[in-house]
Amino acid sequence: MVKHLRKPEVRHPGMRQNSLGLTRRDYEGSMSTLCAGCGHDSITSAITQAFFELEIPPHRAAKLSGIGCSSKTPAYFLGESHGFNAVHGRMPAIASGANAANCDLIYLGVSGDGDSLSIGLGQLCHAIRRNVNLLYVVENNGVYGLTKGQFSASADVGTKSKRGVENRQRPIDPVLLALSIGASFVARSFSGDKAQLVPILKAALTHKGFAIVDIISPCVTFNDHESSTKSYVHTRERYHEVVGADFVPPAEEITADYDAGATEGIRMHDGSLVRFHKVEENYDPRDREAVYEYVSQLQNEGEVVTGLLFIEDSTDDMHDILGTVDTPLVDLPMERLVPGSDALSELMESFR
């Protein structure tokens, strides 16, 4: 019998607080029920950290997911945020509707490679196309964890399942897919590299528009064996960071002493700064075509390309495109929405 487990409420007096007076603990959720060592749990921890560091009031965030081991994780962070565990592959629709109704919240969607690239592929593509203001995390393990290890659409050619079956279908790569259909923020990281992941998540949360972060997240139970390309060992071996990111919040920027020439940065719409550390000299994370070519070439060579791979600074999100008011629609009183009796009788005359 699985129960909703609450974590014991112990507070260490020395715990660091953010400006809201909240500790990292206040950004946690209930106890994880995933397998020990599952990559998804590390991502949960990075998400918790990112929200804590960004000092987001938890109730001003909404966390959404589909179905899968990965999609269970929103229960394990942000216990004071509303959560929505939707149906399999349909989180983008829920996120789009929720965002349409209330543009003021911070939206985080968590999905798996099965949830995103098979059953939910259409919804993912269309959420990108609408440019919904949402951080979309793919916890990518190459398999369907929750249904016991079938290959997902992200499994690489030649990968063998735990039972020795070889995958011969070409993968759908979420990064290349997102680049090709116009996502405005595309990154890849690894559940085992928190130092890289947390700043990427922070930048993605600050980005206005659709931000997708594909995170290699090994499934220790079904896909961490030798012939897997989504295992801890393989990922570490072929790990290739092309561009790292630092996230500098608006307030800190003035005081911090940056060597402006040495690193490039991009200004986010809230005034914060994302600085790039480019490992590759000529890499430009703003050149979509070049990024696509570069990433696909390295991937063909078997590299796991990571980093804040692409960012487009000023884009119109769903609300800009649809021309909705700045006030969240949920905050509009009925008086502003209902035209009233006079308008109706007048209107009736035109149907005579």
């Binding site: 699985v2 509303h82 939707a86 629709a93 209330n102 003021d104 009788s345």
Partner: protein, 633 residues
């Protein structure tokens, strides 16, 4: 030219057969509107193909001084302008009727009938002579037949001209050519046919309190007045125009005066799975949200509909029914989604359904649907159909009471949340069967995790039998208990009624007419029009009180009867199915054809002779497939 001594003034039907895409819709609308403005009860049925250009299309107009608005399959006059349908058009006219045709080309002699009068007008030729350009000539030919009919049927030409003036206020050139076309048709008919025909119109005062509107427009208006802000959809006939009209109303009434920005958000989704997901996301967030669709869309939405039911998220779904199964006949009407919607999604589910019978009810029920969805925190379906949604109906004006308070249901404010020890999403503290909900972003104490997986009354995940059962049992009680809050059935009683009839939605007009015609034969019927599911207690009582009860519906499998059998204690044999599912709007003939064979001696009294005319053959063809299969005992 009189066919019989009977007075046919304001009591006849005519039909216009044209080619889809040739612009006849505006001419037909003009005719309808002119008759409507003459104060005469009128109904129009657009019988159109699932195609953009080229296939046959018909517009049927019925005028009825008695106010019978249902379709009639008997046409006293036809205007036949489509070579592909001319044979059928001529065959369908009742003996003694009239055929108006384009005599620019000789009519195939084999199509001539002795028992009808042919009125040839060289319409094509006249338009070639009077107008320039192929498109204009085609369009003006439509207006020309308006003129011909105005003369033949005695339509008030001042009314016609007035309508044209309103329409082409800013396009004087078009107005001139329209006027000319009307005049040409009118004059030709005057000169050659000694009008008016015995089928004539005479001004009445019966439509003053009415508007001429289609159900989708009315439903869209309801959504506007319900305060809906987020609408998501995927285009599908016959639901599309609902969203088109909502968009148009929003552009008129929902702009922020300062910024010009939208006080609404319409998302054209990638499919219906996404559309309903967006509705749930928006409703969960606290907006009023809806999606219009038709049967195929409901099939796709099913998984999320179950989510709405179990996680208790409001949603308003308009199912504008069309002919199924599968793609079926997309431009034909049916009431074929009753069972689908009542139990949409896997697992034990049961949903609230509303059945509007005309556009006025589409408006009222749309507003009501949002209140009910919020009140009961669940999906509410408004089941209209193509006939209601896409045809213009003369129906009561819609009204709004400014003191109306929308029922947003049990949503806690931030202060109310603060006052609680703890918030638990599904805890039924006061035995109202509906728990309180909180909206995201309002108060950290109100946070909860919405899930479609097993949950306890506190909102937590569970796989425990008792905890699961506790929640689903409450939901069952909640939905069952909603019956009293739904639109109550409408009962039309007659003294000493011998039989009962029940129906829903757009069957109403045909049933009422059939009841009148039964009365002419000496058979008295009580009638109950059910307006919502789960059924009100009075539904079961009505069935108990009548034997037999005819259940009239527009589907093959007697879906309403099945629901009645499932939900009441009435023995199945008592409910006699009367079905028509050929896709055309229901007519009184269909109802009578289903009822009469079961009445034995009771139904043998003769009908008015006028009604027993030669069109019976056609009526039998229409109804042929729909004969009841289960005999009444």
């Amino acid at each position: 030219m009189a066919r019989s001594g009977l007075d046919r003034t304001n009591d006849f039907a005519f039909k216009i057969g044209t080619v889809n895409g040739t612009g006849s819709a505006s001419a037909n609308g003009l005719l309808m509107q002119a008759i409507f403005r003459m104060g005469i009860p009128v109904s129009g049925k657009n019988i159109f193909p699932s195609n953009i250009q080229g296939l046959p299309t018909w517009y049927e107009v019925r005028v009825s001084r008695d106010g019978h608005m249902a379709r009639t399959p008997r046409f006293d006059l036809t205007v036949t302008l489509n070579p592909t349908s001319v044979e059928q058009d001529i065959a369908e006219v009742v003996p003694g009727g009239y055929v108006v045709h384009d005599s620019s080309w000789p009519l195939d002699e084999s199509l001539r009938r002795e028992d009808v009068t042919f009125l040839g007008v060289p319409m094509g030729q006249m338009c070639v002579e009077a107008f320039e350009g192929a498109r204009t000539r085609i369009l003006m030919k439509n207006i020309l037949y308006v003129g011909i009919l105005a003369a033949l049927l005695d339509i008030d030409t001042e009314v016609v001209k007035g309508l044209l003036r309103e329409k082409f206020e800013r396009k004087p050139k078009l107005l001139d050519s329209n006027f000319l076309a009307v005049k040409m048709g009118y004059d030709y008919a005057k000169e050659h046919f000694e009008p008016p025909l015995p089928l004539r119109l005479e001004a009445m005062d019966e439509t003053g309190d009415c508007v001429l509107m289609d159900g989708n427009t009315a439903a869209a208006l309801g959504c506007l007045y319900a305060g809906a802000t987020v609408a998501a959809w995927y285009p599908i006939t016959p639901a599309t125009s609902l969203m088109d009209r909502f968009q148009a109303f929003c552009e008129g009434y929902r702009k922020d005066p300062e910024t010009g920005k939208n006080l609404y958000c319409i998302i054209q989704a990638e499919d219906e799975l996404a559309a309903i997901g967006m509705v749930l996301g928006a409703s969960w967030m606290g907006a009023r949200s809806f999606t219009p669709t038709s049967g195929p869309g409901i099939s796709l939405m099913s998984e999320f509909i179950g989510f709405s039911y179990y996680a208790e998220i409001p949603a308003v779904i308009f199912d504008v029914q069309r002919t199924g199964p599968s793609t079926g006949m997309p431009t034909r009407t049916q009431q074929c989604d009753l069972l689908l919607c009542a139990h949409a999604s896997h697992g034990d589910t049961k949903h609230i359904l509303l059945f509007p019978a005309d556009p006025s009810e589409c408006f009222k029920m749309a507003v009501r649907a949002f209140d009910l969805a919020d009140r009961f925190q669940t999906a509410v379906f408004v089941l209209s159909d193509l006939d209601i949604a896409m045809n213009d109906w003369a129906c009561p004006r819609m009204e709004w009471d400014d003191s109306y308070e929308h029922d947003r249901g049990r949503i806690l404010s931030s202060d109310q949340i603060d006052a609680l020890d703890a918030f638990h999403r599904y805890l039924d503290v006061d035995e109202q069967e509906v728990a309180t909900r909180t909206l995201p972003g309002v108060n950290p104490k109100g946070a909860y995790f919405t899930r479609g997986s097993g949950h306890t009354k506190f909102g937590g995940y569970t796989e425990d039998s008792d905890e699961y059962v506790e929640v689903v049992d409450r939901i069952a009680r909640k939905i069952a208990g909603s019956a009293d809050s739904l639109p109550e059935p409408i009962l039309v009683s007659r003294p000493e009624a011998q039989i009962g009839i029940v129906a829903v939605g757009s069957s109403d007009g045909a049933v009422r007419e059939a009841i009148d015609r039964l009365a002419e034969r000496g058979v008295q019927a009580d009638y109950m029009r059910i307006r919502a599911f789960p059924f009100h207690d009075s539904v079961g009582a009505f069935l108990e009180d009548h034997d037999p009860v005819f259940v009239v519906e527009q589907n093959r499998d007697a879906q309403l009867r099945s629901l009645l059998t499932l939900e009441t204690n009435v023995p199945q044999e008592r409910l006699v199915p009367v079905q028509y599912y050929g896709g055309l709007p229901l007519s009184a003939d269909h109802v009578l054809d289903g009822v009469l064979p079961h009445l034995g001696e009771l139904g043998e009294g003769g009908e008015g002779e006028e009604r027993a005319g030669g069109a019976a053959a056609k009526a039998a063809v229409d109804a042929g497939a729909a004969r009841p299969k289960v005999g009444a005992s």
